[in-house]
């Protein structure tokens, strides 16, 4: 075969993302060249869409619009809670596990930067998980609403609401990766991240200002936007603050992992 005789071309790239493409392919493979991806497809259809079947929706005296709103609310609540726990659990050992098992030492002895190693995890885990736990259940949800109410959510507002849901997931993903770079116990990583998620359900009752400076307000805001209701004047603050927190966690993860002694 003629092409087999073409000499190998050495990779000569420089910069802070050397090896990123190969790491992305490897991370992608950990989802799709194993049964992990398929397992998550079924898991999230079962958890999110199955839950909607189980709870049963009050028909509201034949008012399908109210029934649709109720379905959207349940979808955002269930998705917001379980998908967030899911992204924490499925990525808790993404960095820490590799540090502890020694695969990070092996990979980072090759020409790949630590930034490429970490950001490939953020990108692939984020995109894949959102696809599996948000996009596919959303498609199924649109079919479910048709079955239940003969109506479908208005796509524009619903997608904006979903964007806030995705923002929350990315926040917790960045937090989990940062914790994985800083801490040395899987229990501590998931404990802190899930603890924060549940704290968000309780603490704002005692400290309302937390809703402004944390992502705790996002699930409710997502539901509001998805059902076409207007947000309050200051609602953009937690949306922006969450983006900033996410960036901060990514920077912390990069900074800490760059100093990791493997």
């Amino acid at each position: 075969m003629a092409s087999a005789n073409v000499p190998l071309q050495a990779a000569a790239g420089r910069g802070w993302l050397v090896g990123f493409g190969n790491m992305v392919d490897k991370e992608y493979g950990s989802w799709w060249r194993t049964r992990r991806g398929l397992l998550h497809v079924f898991l999230w259809l079962l958890v999110i869409n199955g839950f909607l079947f189980l709870v049963g929706v009050d028909e509201h005296g034949g008012n399908p619009y109210r029934a649709l709103n109720e379905l959207i609310q349940i979808f955002f609540q269930v998705g917001g809670l379980f998908a967030t726990i899911g992204i924490i659990v499925s990525t808790q050992s993404s960095v820490l596990g590799e540090r502890q098992l020694g695969t990070a030492e092996w990979v980072l002895s090759k020409p790949v930067t630590r930034e490429a190693f970490l950001l490939s995890k953020l990108l692939v885990n984020g995109v894949t998980f959102i696809g599996l736990a948000v996009v596919i259940p959303t498609v199924a949800f649109f079919l479910q609403t048709l079955l239940h109410t003969y109506l479908q959510p208005s796509p524009g507002p619903f997608m904006l609401g979903l964007a806030l849901h995705v923002e929350q997931l990315v926040f917790y993903l960045a937090l989990t990766l940062a914790l994985g770079a800083v801490l040395s116990s899987r229990g501590a990583v998931s404990g802190v991240a899930i603890g924060l998620l549940f704290a968000g359900l309780i603490l704002p009752n005692f400290f309302p200002s937390l809703m402004t400076w944390t992502p705790f307000a996002l699930p409710a805001a997502g539901y509001m936007v998805a059902t076409g209701r207007p947000l309050s004047d200051g609602a953009w603050v937690p949306i922006l603050v969450t983006v900033l927190w996410t960036l901060l966690f990514v920077l912390v993860a990069l900074w800490r992992f760059d100093r990791e002694e493997l």
């Binding site: 990779a11 060249r33 020409p111």
Partner: protein
């Protein structure tokens, strides 16, 4: 022309909290050598290797690999290195072929057919061709080590760093590893750490001994085995050798003669300045005396284990 050393470390040191894992290492590794890096557990061997690879950062000093600084240009360093960790860990869901392909893609951008060809050649080299498409999680320790050697040399490295490459292998596996190392010497430099002194004596041409984070010896293996007391010939002599002793001592190329006697046999240790003269004349000087019989004659050498133990015990006095 003497080529530039592949590795050059100057006062390279590493401390973890209050523990000095490596103290001011000065080291030069010549090109195309098989460089054995010896030391007891905790001597600082793995720390040195990790420093060279940029996996940990030095506390003091600096080092260069192929002239690239290990901190400032760690990617440039790693492009030319193949590394086998002490306990190699891979992604368990991958097969041997996928692992080698993943490794090769850090070094080569294509073409894919060329990468696949290199992967297949490597599988053949390390004897894993028949297990190439099985997940690694089912591999034995020996198979993992073979894969480790494969991934370390899939990029045809200029420098191969092996951390205890034969530690977990049976004698057959060890023999294969040593054969691969000798084959690679033709085009690469091999820098490896080990506890197995027999292997070092068999394949290394230069040896460094590290103990308690300090370099206690570095020399070509021949010099190390010859000992530190110069060129010494040893003989076992029977009979009255008084006159022969005087004849030998009077030679200009003999610097020292020590004779010890035990059970009717005299053991001669003759330190010389000219080994050629000693080899051609020493035995004749003794045999000229008909009352003397020579039971054995040879140049004194040490076993590496003896040298290693002496150096480590000497260095450890008062420190352990």
């Amino acid at each position: 022309m003497v080529s530039e050393p592949v590795i050059r470390a100057r006062r390279l040191g590493k401390s973890y909290k209050n523990v000095e894992a490596l103290k001011s290492l000065d080291l030069e590794v010549p090109s195309n050598s098989i460089f054995g890096f010896l030391g007891p557990n905790g001597a600082g061997k793995t720390t040195t290797i990790k420093l060279l690879l940029g996996l940990v950062r030095p506390t003091t000093g600096s080092a260069e690999v192929f002239g690239n600084d290990i901190v400032g240009d760690t990617i440039g360093v790693r492009r030319r290195i193949g590394y086998l960790p002490q306990e190699p860990r891979y992604y368990e869901h991958m097969t041997a072929r996928e692992t080698l392909r993943f490794t090769a893609r850090f070094f080569y951008k294509g073409p894919s057919s060329g990468i696949e060809k290199r992967v297949q050649e490597t599988l053949d080299l390390v004897g894993l061709a028949d297990k190439a498409d099985r997940p690694i999680k089912g591999f034995s320790g020996g198979e993992r080590q073979r894969l480790g050697i494969g991934q370390a040399q899939v990029n045809d490295p200029d420098l191969l760093i092996l951390d205890e490459p034969a530690a977990s292998l049976d004698p057959m596996g060890r023999r294969d590893v040593l054969a691969i190392m000798e084959r690679l010497r033709e085009r690469s430099t091999v820098f490896y750490s080990t506890h197995i002194l027999d292997d070092v004596q068999r394949v290394s041409d230069t040896v460094a001994i590290l103990d308690l984070g300090e370099l206690v010896a570095k020399a070509p293996i021949g010099d190390l085995l010859a000992g530190s007391d110069g060129i010494v010939y040893t003989m076992e002599v029977k009979g009255d050798g008084g006159a022969a002793e005087k004849r030998v001592e009077s030679q200009s190329w003999v610097s020292k003669l020590r004779v010890t006697r035990e059970a009717g046999v005299a053991r001669w240790l003759v330190s010389v300045t000219d080994p050629a003269a000693a080899e051609s004349q020493l035995l004749r000087l003794l045999l000229a005396d008909e009352h003397v019989a020579v039971a054995s004659f040879g140049r004194r050498t040490y076993e590496l284990e003896e040298v290693f133990m002496n150096l480590v015990e000497e260095n450890g006095d008062g420190q352990r």
